[in-house]
């Protein structure tokens, strides 16, 4: 029989351990609550010189850069001083993204394709960044930055062809919907494996630097996917080699049904992760077109000056579900999107343009109609080339192409086998 235990010495636990499991503060049936989100005044955060030392701006990772205030006025040092024509172009591109999303989701519900993912509420994240970057800069997006195409005036029918996997699909039906690719548009191929683009972007940027090029890379990753190894690889390599990259973290609060706490959002901000790698890290209102533009511009200039990478957390909200396969009412309050305290990116930029006398409700309504019509026309053009399983179809023999540069014998045999079997 063992001797009785002595009383616990100082420093020992007197109670049992317990495991913390993060849960969001709000669930279906309860009221939305964003009280934990600290929202400073627009213009409160200064704009450091582009060549500031990362160590001198650590507190920016815990702040929130805002330019547009709640009345639509642009405030503070981060005002990007864009002319009205540029702002209207930005508004148009964001509204076009939204109109495109609306149509494609309807098409999915009608059975014309298998799947779709909207970017509702996050249009400024992609559009403002796309406009702030140079046309030659390479973007490594997630599946929720389709706004980059609109910002770069890419024809919608080309995107639709991919979504429909139709006879006009440049990707030859190889990828599921919204996994676009366009070298010409500076939009790297989307992968379903989360985060892989982040570390690839750093490699691309390193190559550009090694070749004495002037083009930089920009990458996006979601709050949830920052838990992936590739996020860590990207920041490590970006830090080690001072890669000319803009590393965006799109914190839209949700990763399918998992709130940001599951990815570590309870303990600290996502921008703060950059501090650990010695990278300057900004935190920005992702629904403020002007702030997103200004932060991207700052980071891009910095990268081009050989000062390395910048981490930018875009604080935004995923207004709809993860995809057409998701129903967010099953895990979050039904009116949470409407309660998001940082508003809607389209409405806020429109409001700002109105406030500065460069827009009005009538023009807004007219633009919305024009874009809806444009999307419809593009849709007709695309659907004439087929939809998933209907109309003109791709040649199934092409399934065996491009596995390798030159088709090896075993694929030739398999292709014959498939075709002979008919």
């Amino acid at each position: 029989m063992t001797a009785p235990m002595t009383a616990p010495a100082l420093g020992h636990n007197s109670g049992a351990l317990s495991l913390h499991i993060p849960v969001p503060s709000v669930r279906p049936g309860t009221q939305p609550d964003f009280s934990a989100l600290a929202i400073p005044k627009a213009g409160a955060w200064p704009r450091p010189p582009m060549d500031v030392a990362a160590a001198d701006i650590r507190d920016f990772a815990f702040g929130l850069i805002r330019v547009l205030d709640d009345d639509g006025e642009a405030k503070g040092e981060w005002r990007p001083e864009l002319d009205a024509a540029t702002l209207r172009r930005g508004l148009r591109a964001m509204m076009l993204t939204r109109a495109y999303d609306e149509r494609m989701v309807r098409m999915q519900r009608q059975g014309k394709t298998s799947f779709y993912m909207k970017s509702t509420g996050e249009e400024a994240v992609a559009v403002a960044a796309g406009m702030a970057l140079d046309r030659g800069d390479m973007c490594f997006p997630t599946y929720r930055q389709q706004g980059l195409f609109m910002a770069r005036d890419w024809p919608l029918r080309d995107l639709m062809n991919q979504v429909y996997s139709n006879s006009g699909d440049r990707l030859k039906g190889r990828q599921m919907p919204v996994f676009y690719s366009s070298r010409e548009a500076g939009f790297f191929s989307i992968s379903g494996n989360l985060g892989t683009q982040y570390s690839q972007a750093v490699g691309w940027a390193m190559a550009s630097a090694a070749c004495g090029d002037t083009r930089i890379a920009a990458a996006w990753i979601g709050d949830g996917a920052t838990a992936e190894g590739d996020f860590h690889y990207a920041l490590t390599f970006a830090s080690v080699y001072r890669a000319p990259a803009v590393l965006n973290i799109v914190n839209n609060q949700w990763a399918i049904s998992s709130f940001s706490g599951i990815a570590g959002g309870e303990a600290t901000t996502f921008a703060a992760r950059g501090l650990a790698y010695g990278l300057p890290s900004l935190r920005v209102d992702g629904n403020d077109f002007l702030a997103v533009y200004a932060a991207t511009q700052w980071a891009a200039k910095r990268a081009r000056a050989n000062l390395g990478a910048t981490v930018i957390e875009l604080v935004t909200y995923r207004a709809e579900g993860h995809s057409t396969s998701d129903d967010p009412s099953r895990y979050r309050a039904a009116d949470e999107a409407a309660a998001w305290p940082l508003g809607d990116p389209v409405e806020r930029l429109a409001q700002h343009l109105i406030v500065i006398g460069e827009w009005d409700e009538a023009r807004h309504a007219a633009l919305r109609e024009e874009l809806t019509e444009h999307v419809r026309e593009e849709g007709k053009a695309s659907e004439a080339l087929g939809t998933l399983g209907q109309g003109p179809q791709l040649d199934r023999a092409s399934m065996f192409d491009d596995v390798y540069k030159v088709m090896p014998a075993h694929l030739q045999r398999q292709r014959s086998q498939m075709l002979e079997g008919e």
């Binding site: 390479m138 490594f140 440049r170 990707l171 030859k172 190889r174 990828q175 996994f179 690719s181 366009s182 070298r183 790297f188 191929s189 992968s191 494996n193 892989t196 570390s199 690839q200 972007a201 750093v202 490699g203 691309w204 940027a205 390193m206 190559a207 550009s208 090694a210 070749c211 890379a217 190894g229 590739d230 690889y233 990207a234 490590t236 390599f237 080690v240 192409d401 491009d402 596995v403 390798y404 540069k405 090896p408 014998a409 075993h410």
Partner: protein
């Protein structure tokens, strides 16, 4: 013509490629200033510069990811994974990204990367320095897998791999870096200097991918091998007196099936040898192919000699490593029917 061991041949291949193509860039752990733990990149940084040959963090995932990104930019990265045993963190970028980039973009992007790694046992390296993971990658559409067995082939195949626009895994049998090895571990080591395949042309040449080599013509049994097992098989043939036709596959994917079929149709039986674990090893694919394409020519079951289905042990190195005795038994089983 020069005499080189396998490490020197591999080093020379990279030197030639760095010289010929400004887009070639080499990185990995310890490969820069130090020249690699196996000296594979010895002196290359000094000759070609810091931004052409450099050290990378201990991050196989990051190394492969960065290579994919650089390849997308237009460079031709050749990365080293320090031991094939450590390739797994890079597996996602290899399988989910590099292997599929050309396919999923219908040729708009591709991944012209080469991933080199020392593999295989015979060195008392235990399970973290002796693995043969080729079977994982041969299963993945879009990847090529190449394994040399001698310095001459190592240089030519590596140059071919580097110049290939598809992602290539180049597994180097580390037991053969300094000399041939036929499994007789209690005999004095021999050097490549005395071996015909230690004669390596200077300058640029390639050994084509996708082509096997008949290293010993024969009529009694076909032996399909690669890497260190080529030498083990040759020793087994000599020691049993069986007239084996030993085929060094050299490239696993894409496979030279024509060479295999021609040989088995001639011999009527087949023995497959690899160090990798038996179950679902590349030998399983070879056995299925031989059975399917040569069924009416076979006079005996297809034999496989492979690593036992255990993690690679330390103390039992020579019980695990398929040596000439085990291979010889398989040859006898195949021909004595």
């Amino acid at each position: 013509m020069a005499r080189m061991n396998m490490i020197q041949a591999i080093n020379n291949a990279m030197d030639v490629c760095l010289e010929n193509d400004p887009k070639v860039v080499i990185f990995g752990q310890d490969v820069g200033y130090f020249g690699g733990v196996f000296r594979a990149t010895d002196r290359l940084q000094g000759r070609h510069g810091l931004t052409r040959v450099f050290d990378a963090p201990i991050s196989e995932g990051g190394i492969v990811a960065t290579a994919v990104g650089m390849g997308a930019y237009g460079l031709r990265p050749v990365v080293e994974i320090q031991f094939a045993d450590y390739i797994y963190p890079g597996t996602d970028q290899l399988i989910s990204e590099a292997a599929r980039l050309r396919y999923r973009t219908a040729g708009e992007w591709w991944s012209p990367i080469t991933v080199r790694a020392p593999y295989g046992g015979g060195i008392y390296g235990g399970q973290t320095h002796s693995q043969s993971p080729e079977g994982i990658f041969t299963h993945v559409a879009g990847l090529k897998t190449v394994i040399p067995s001698n310095p001459h082939d190592a240089k030519g195949l590596l140059i071919a791999a580097i110049e290939d626009d598809d992602p290539v895994l180049f597994f180097e049998p580390k037991r053969l870096y300094n000399g041939p090895f036929d499994g007789h571990h209690d005999r004095p080591v021999t050097a490549w200097a005395k071996h015909p395949a230690g004669e390596v042309p200077e300058g640029h040449y390639t050994v084509p991918l996708g082509k096997a080599a008949i290293v010993r013509p024969g009529s009694a049994v076909t032996v399909l091998v690669y890497g260190t097992m080529v030498h083990v098989a040759l020793a087994a043939a000599e020691e049993t007196g069986i007239d084996a036709e030993v085929i060094d596959l050299r490239t696993l994917v894409p496979l030279d099936l024509d060479a295999i079929v021609a040989s088995v149709e001639k011999t009527g039986c087949c023995v497959i040898v690899h160090e990798a674990t038996l179950t679902c090893g590349f030998g399983a694919e070879l056995a299925a192919l031989v059975q399917n394409h040569c069924f009416y020519f076979l006079e005996a079951p297809v034999e496989r000699v492979a690593g036992w289905d255990t993690p690679y042990p330390h103390a039992f190195e020579w019980d695990y490593f398929p040596g000439p005795a085990r291979v010889g038994e398989a040859l006898r089983r195949a021909v004595e029917r």
